[in-house]
Amino acid sequence: MRRVGGLLLGLLGILALVVVWEVYKTLGPEAGVRLGDRAILPRTGDRAMPHVWDMVTRLGEPATGRRGGPLWTVVLAACLFTLKIAALGWVVGVLVGGALALLMQRLRLAEAAVLPWIVLSQTVPLIAIAPLVRRWGSSLSFGGFTWSSEHSVAVIAAYLAFFPVSVGLLRGLKAPEATHLDLMRTYGTGWWGTLLRLRLPASVPYLLPALRLAAASAVIGTVVAEVSIGLRGGVGRLVIEYAQAAGGDPAKPWAPIFGAVGVGLVAAGFVALLGLALRPYRRTEVVA
């Protein structure tokens, strides 16, 4: 019952957004709202703000000219391409972030030495590291493996995704109460046993939001890195390509934006499924 209610509220939210869009488009001034020299609300013409139904019907029309499949199939293919890379980036990010969290929990020295760098790493602009990653990657090849631009994009996605995991998991690993740690000690359980039976299960409530954040970061990282590296085939590239068509075909650029939103939703949905599987570990602690 609550789930149905949630779904209904979500749909209502989307509907409200559509209504606001269309009402402003109808009632707002043609030239947009300006405060002095600054535009604070966009122009309401069809070029700046196409009707919502135009955006939707545009999805069903051919991508270019009169020929070819409908636009949505092109966007869907790009979404799958992006989703695959984002998933790879997410997995790598989660593994790296997890390993760092374990290291920092195990050795206090490592926490003091590594944590500031982890935080600092996120202040480096993505645009700056993208070409570096590609240059370093392209000189890599071992065995039958050769580095491709897809891998560069995945690395950048992982670069964004590892951060919330390392910080969130570290907090979770430190979450067990003193009583629980004492208890494990009385059982003569070592670090590994304590990790498996106590620290990891106790970290789940902290880990899940971190994984969701990592999923969102991986998607954003993938889209942005596709643009900065110039990788064809994904949503990021499509956004740039279609933006150039905006003049003659204002509804078209919205298609890859919807696609990117869809990719994000799928990623968040996957983490929600994970949360469902880990439900027993999300029971709140109740003090006697």
């Binding site: 004492d182 208890l183 009385t186 003569g188 029971r283 006697a288």
Partner: protein, 294 residues
């Protein structure tokens, strides 16, 4: 390891009517032996805190000893030293003739804290099973033992429940069952009923008396409550703070008296409560009936 859980409801407990001081009633071996134990917590600045000074204490096998005293008297520290959760600064400490560390590794004791400390993601069964699972007991023996223990604490119908579905008293019973899982000969309890309401508390005390009679384990029991200490114990060890040391040892076991609710009403019980209060306050106190409950 397997002497516990035999259906021998009474008669196993040594009774104490005389003799105070360090040594407990000697019927067989010594569970805990403490000699000249000191624990100083060093502070980064200023003098350290003398948590325990020159503590001597023996706890006989099967004996129930309570540690009582105001906050900061070192009673919990003493318990943690016995449990090898902390290390003494100096002095001797033996648990069943071994070092505290060895006794811990051999699982010679079970422990229960003021907070039940159940793992919230494990059911009642899985919580009680935890020490057995950690020590590689096979699945079938595990299941049998857990079933026995759940029956002992009277929570059979809650076997599949999670801790947050239980009341505080029920959680604490599960924690006690978990402490008993490996049939230890020694139970260490750090204010296990401290967070419970008075009615639940008395019921839990009755239950603990019954469980101890069945398992015949020695118990070291930390508490704030004089009536609780008197009701449960063979001897009450009264401690005083700054520096933490043993002020007196009061034998309180009333010979021949069954430890049930009737005992709580008897004059002998109130006299014992009064003598513990005297030891605690260092002078005779009036009105033994006006006992504090916590």
């Amino acid at each position: 390891m397997s002497t516990a859980m035999q259906p021998e409801p009474s008669g196993g407990r040594p009774s104490t009517s005389s003799g105070s001081g360090v040594t407990g009633p000697s019927s067989g071996g010594v569970a805990v032996r403490v000699r000249g134990l000191n624990r100083v917590f060093t502070a980064r600045r200023g003098p350290g805190v003398q948590a325990l000074v020159d503590v001597d204490l023996d706890v006989a096998e099967g004996e129930f000893v309570s540690l009582i005293g105001p906050s900061g008297c070192g009673k919990s520290t003493l318990l943690r030293l016995v449990a090898d959760l902390d290390e003494p600064t100096s002095g001797e400490l033996a648990v069943f003739g071994k070092s505290a560390r060895q006794a811990r590794l051999d699982q010679d004791y079970g422990i229960a804290f003021q907070q039940a400390g159940l793992l919230p993601w494990r059911t009642v069964t899985a919580n009680i099973e935890l020490p057995l699972a950690l020590h590689g007991v096979d699945k079938r023996s595990r299941r049998n033992r857990v079933a026995e223990l759940i029956e002992l604490i009277g929570l059979t119908e809650f076997a599949g429940s999670y801790p947050d579905q239980l009341s505080g008293g029920m959680q604490q019973r599960v924690a006690i069952a978990r402490a008993l899982a490996e049939s230890p000969r020694l139970l260490l309890m750090d204010e296990p009923f401290g967070a419970l309401d008075e009615m639940t508390r008395e019921r839990m005390q009755n239950e603990l008396v019954r469980i101890c009679a069945e398992t015949r384990a020695a118990v070291v029991f930390v508490t704030h409550s004089i009536p609780e200490a008197v009701f449960l114990s063979d001897r009450v060890v009264v401690m005083s703070p700054r520096p933490g040391r043993i002020a007196d040892v009061v034998p309180v076991r009333i010979p021949g008296a069954e430890r049930d609710d009737a005992l709580r009403e008897q004059d002998a019980f109130f006299r014992a409560v009064a003598s513990v209060r005297e030891a605690l306050h260092g002078a005779p106190v009036d009105a033994p009936r006006g006992v504090e409950n916590r």
